[in-house]
Each structure stands twice: as structure tokens, then as C-alpha cells.
């Protein structure tokens, strides 16, 4: 790797931020690690597929959500096509959560945080929490009876913790903005970081692979 060998870098070059960034990427995330075409032979389990399916479900959540927000919040209440796109969004979210939770339990029983992967796990938990918040703002912006009742009911919990003073679940505009912009961008960013971290280290070895067997 470039950064491992001095390969004639002058002191001036090594002070270049650009060069240092490039070398750091070369070392920690070369294309061969980002998109490997080979995996350890034990990566044969279905459990590894849960993470990928979660990405796929997220992709459908985002695509259907972009169509919904492009057409505006009234569309899906009075058009059949709109209602269908809303249903697609709704069920993609359910699938997203199902597979994210399966992935979470899978990673738990594989102890996927071993060998320096604790940060990957922790970002995963943050993704889980932010996803719950995003889904919550989504349920609040449905503009139907469910949304009304969830708002009235949820305000007490938010207010009791002081959150309601800033995050007003009765304010449709605030919840809608958070739901369609800020939170999805946050989730996407976190998922990219999560996957880059996984690819940078490669998947973890089986439990007890260290020592004698590795």
C-alpha cells in the first residue's frame, strides 16, 4: 500500500492534506476492500444476507418516499396511484424494520463487534434509534385519524422529558420537514458510514477463531 512505503515522499508532500487523505483512503479503504469479489468461506450463511436486504428495503423506502413528497402530502389521500405508492412506502418500512431487527439479532449472536468492530455495532444502534424516530415522524404525518391520535397520545411522553418543548408532535409542518428531509439524510449518512466500516475491516471471524485456529 502506498502509505506503508515511503516511496520517496518528500517532507513537503507528506504535509499535503490532499495527499494524506488519499493515502489514508488507499490504506484503509482500497477499492479491493470496498468491493471485494472474494469472502472468507464461512460467509455462507443466510444471516449475512439480512444486512443487504435491509439496504434493499431502505432503497424502496427512499424511492417511494421521494415520489410521495414530490407529489405533495394531499396526493395519496385522493388518488388510487397515490394510495398505492403510500402502501408501498408503508410496507417497505415494515420490511426494513423486520430485516434490520433480524440483522441486529444476527450480529448479536455472532458477536459482530469483536476484533475492533465495536464502533460498527454502536453506529448500528444509532441507526436503529434514528430509524425509530423517523418512522415515528412518519406515522405523525399520515394526515389521518391514526396520526391525530398518535400525536395527542405521544405529546405527553415527549413533554414529560422536556423534548416536547422543542419537538412538537402536534406541529405537522415540523414533523413533516423532519420526516422527509433531515432524518432520511441522517439515516443514509449513517448507513454509508456503517457499511464503509464493515468493508474497511472485512467481516468478523467466527467466535473462538482467534488463538489456535486462526
Amino acid at each position: 500500500m502506498a502509505a506503508n512505503s515511503p516511496e520517496g515522499a518528500t517532507p513537503r508532500e507528506s504535509r499535503s492534506w490532499t495527499l494524506r487523505l488519499r493515502r489514508a483512503i488507499d490504506q484503509h479503504l482500497p477499492m479491493g476492500h470496498l468491493l471485494p469479489d472474494r469472502q472468507p468461506y464461512y460467509v455462507g450463511s443466510w444471516v449475512y444476507v439480512f444486512g443487504v436486504i435491509t439496504i434493499a428495503a431502505l432503497a424502496w423506502v427512499i424511492v417511494s418516499g421521494v415520489v410521495l413528497s414530490f407529489m405533495g402530502p394531499q396526493w395519496w389521500h385522493d388518488s388510487r396511484l397515490g394510495r398505492f405508492v403510500n402502501s408501498l412506502h408503508f410496507w417497505s418500512v415494515q420490511l426494513f424494520f423486520i430485516f434490520m431487527v433480524l440483522h441486529l439479532w444476527g450480529q448479536y449472536f455472532m458477536a459482530g463487534w469483536r476484533h475492533g468492530r465495536a464502533a460498527t455495532w454502536m453506529i448500528g444502534v444509532v441507526i436503529f434509534a434514528v430509524s425509530i424516530l423517523t418512522a415515528f415522524t412518519g406515522y405523525l404525518t399520515q394526515q389521518n385519524f391514526d396520526a391525530q391520535f398518535i400525536a395527542i397520545n405521544a405529546k405527553d411522553a415527549m413533554n414529560s422529558a422536556g423534548i416536547g418543548a422543542f419537538f412538537n408532535v402536534l406541529n405537522f409542518g415540523q414533523m413533516y420537514g423532519l420526516h422527509v428531509m433531515l432524518l432520511p439524510i441522517g439515516i443514509t449518512f449513517l448507513v454509508v458510514a456503517h457499511i464503509v466500516m464493515v468493508r474497511a475491516r472485512g467481516v468478523v471471524k467466527p467466535i473462538d477463531a482467534e488463538g489456535a485456529r486462526s
Binding site: F97, G116, A118, G162
Partner: protein, 327 residues
Amino acid sequence: MRSMGATQEEYYRGVRMVPYDLVKELALAIAGIGVLAVLVAAILSSPDVAPVTIAAWAQQDPVDLVTTATNELAGSTTSAGYGPPYNSVGAGQSWGPIAPQKWFGVRIPVDSANTFVIQPLQRASFSNTDLGTALSAWQKATPDQQTKWLDAYSKALPNATVKDGTVAVAAGDYGPLPVMMSNLLGVAQAGGLDGLLVINGRFYQTDYTLPLLFMGDGTYLSGLAAQAHLTGSQWGMMNETGSYPGQTWLWLYTMWYQVPPFTSTTGFLGFNSSNADLGIIILMTVLTAALALVPFIPILRDIPRWVPIHRLIWRQYYAPRKGAIRS
């Protein structure tokens, strides 16, 4: 950790590597989930029960609307006695010195009696002299007198009768209240109250705090919610109207509302039903932090080693001989 390896190459040294097509796997996953989601969406659709308006409430259950409005004047509704962030009447929830509801103060001021009853009536009294007279009689009366009228009227309302959408109570000394309430009911039934509470002096509007608080003070909307199995004591967060799934991932959060100390009045360690919301949020924050810190928490991080589920997941690896790593 000796076995961590400085680079992936070192980490995997001696591990047999086999071809694996990640991009194809992702493409297939996107296609598969797409087909599944389209099918489920087409077959099962999604929940969309029309929202309740104040007009519908006033038409379907006029006595409840009038009772709620009367209670707003008496200051006995949920919103009137709420405390922060709407007003400083109640103290809000706290746990020992931890009182975040109080800390941030009144950030979304709501004066229930004025906002939900007096101001809408003032608008409506524009060309209505009867109402104008009643309103000024109300405002000129002493608080004592107002309370007497409110008490009498509140006692009469449970036996009120509804005829042609108007509410009638037995004769009694209610001062100007019957005139005020019948006008408020009329405005509400015509949809005027929906508009007045939402617009609240603005034109563009995306904030439904006032009408939702007002509807939350009544029993009509919560009654419909109970019929649809949405309330907190019915694990309501996990359902939507119809048989649609709600936020099922909140199962743990909503479970705490069904068990002691959060259901009991005596409580435990200062947690009881009166500060259940705060207690449960604190508990869930601690549990979420613990989930994030699992890699560092003894026992929690060791369970996967003890429970042989990993032997199923990595079957090939643990299978005798066949899968042994060659070095």
C-alpha cells in the same frame, strides 16, 4: 487484541477465501424486496381512516363538545391544567430533582379558556348581539359568580338532551353560559372552529397544536381510538386502525406502560403511574445506551459465546475437519 490484524490482509491470513458477488446479491435483494413490497402493497393497501374534525365532533357528540368547552372555562381539562410547555398551571412530571418538563418552561403557550372558547366566540359575536351581550355579561361577572354558573351548568350537562343538533339542559341559573355554548356549538358544527383554531391569525398554516389539544380534551376522539384499539393501555402504539401494524418496534417501550411500577400509584424508587412517561423514557434511554455498549458490558457481551447460535450460523466453520482453516 492480537488477532485483530493491522490490515484486512493480515486479519484474513490463512483463511480460505471464496468468490462472492456482493453487488449481485444487493441487486437481487433490491429486486426481491421490490416484488414483495409491491405485492403486499397491492393486496393489503395501507391505513387511511379520515381524520376527525371539530365539526364532526360537534355534530356527532354535541354534549361532549359543550362539556369540554365548559371544562375549558372551568380550567379542569387536561390542557388547562397541563403545565409546561403549554402553561404553568401544572408542575409536569418529575423524578426526584429530574424535572425536564419544568426546566424548559412554557415554550408553546396555550391559554385554554381564552383560545378554545372566548376568542372564537368574540369572532363569532361580530354580528350577533345576543352573543355579544352574553359574552360581556360573562366577562363582567366576578370569578365567584362564573364558578357558580360553571358548577351548575356542569352538573346539568350529564342529563342534557340533544335536539336538532342543539344541547338543552334543565332550567337553572347558568348565567350567559347556555347562549355562549350554543353559539360555540353552532360555530363548531359549521366547521368554523376548525378554521379559527388552525389559522389563529395566520394565513399559511402547518401547525395543528391547538385543534389537537382541544380534541384531546374531549372524550369523542379518544373514544373512537379506544374502539380502534389504539390507546396506550391497549398496546396501541403497535396497531393502526384496521388490522395494520403500527410501530411494532416500540413493543418494549409500550410494554412498560402495562407493568408496575408504572401502573401503580404507590410505585417503586419514586416511579409510579403519575410520572410513568418520564420514568419509561429514562428507562428506555438507559436500555438503548446499554444496547450500544453491549460490546463492553461483561455477561451481555459473553452470552453469544455461551449460546451456540453462532454454531448454526457458521455451520461450515464448526463442522468437524471439513471447514478447518488452513494455515
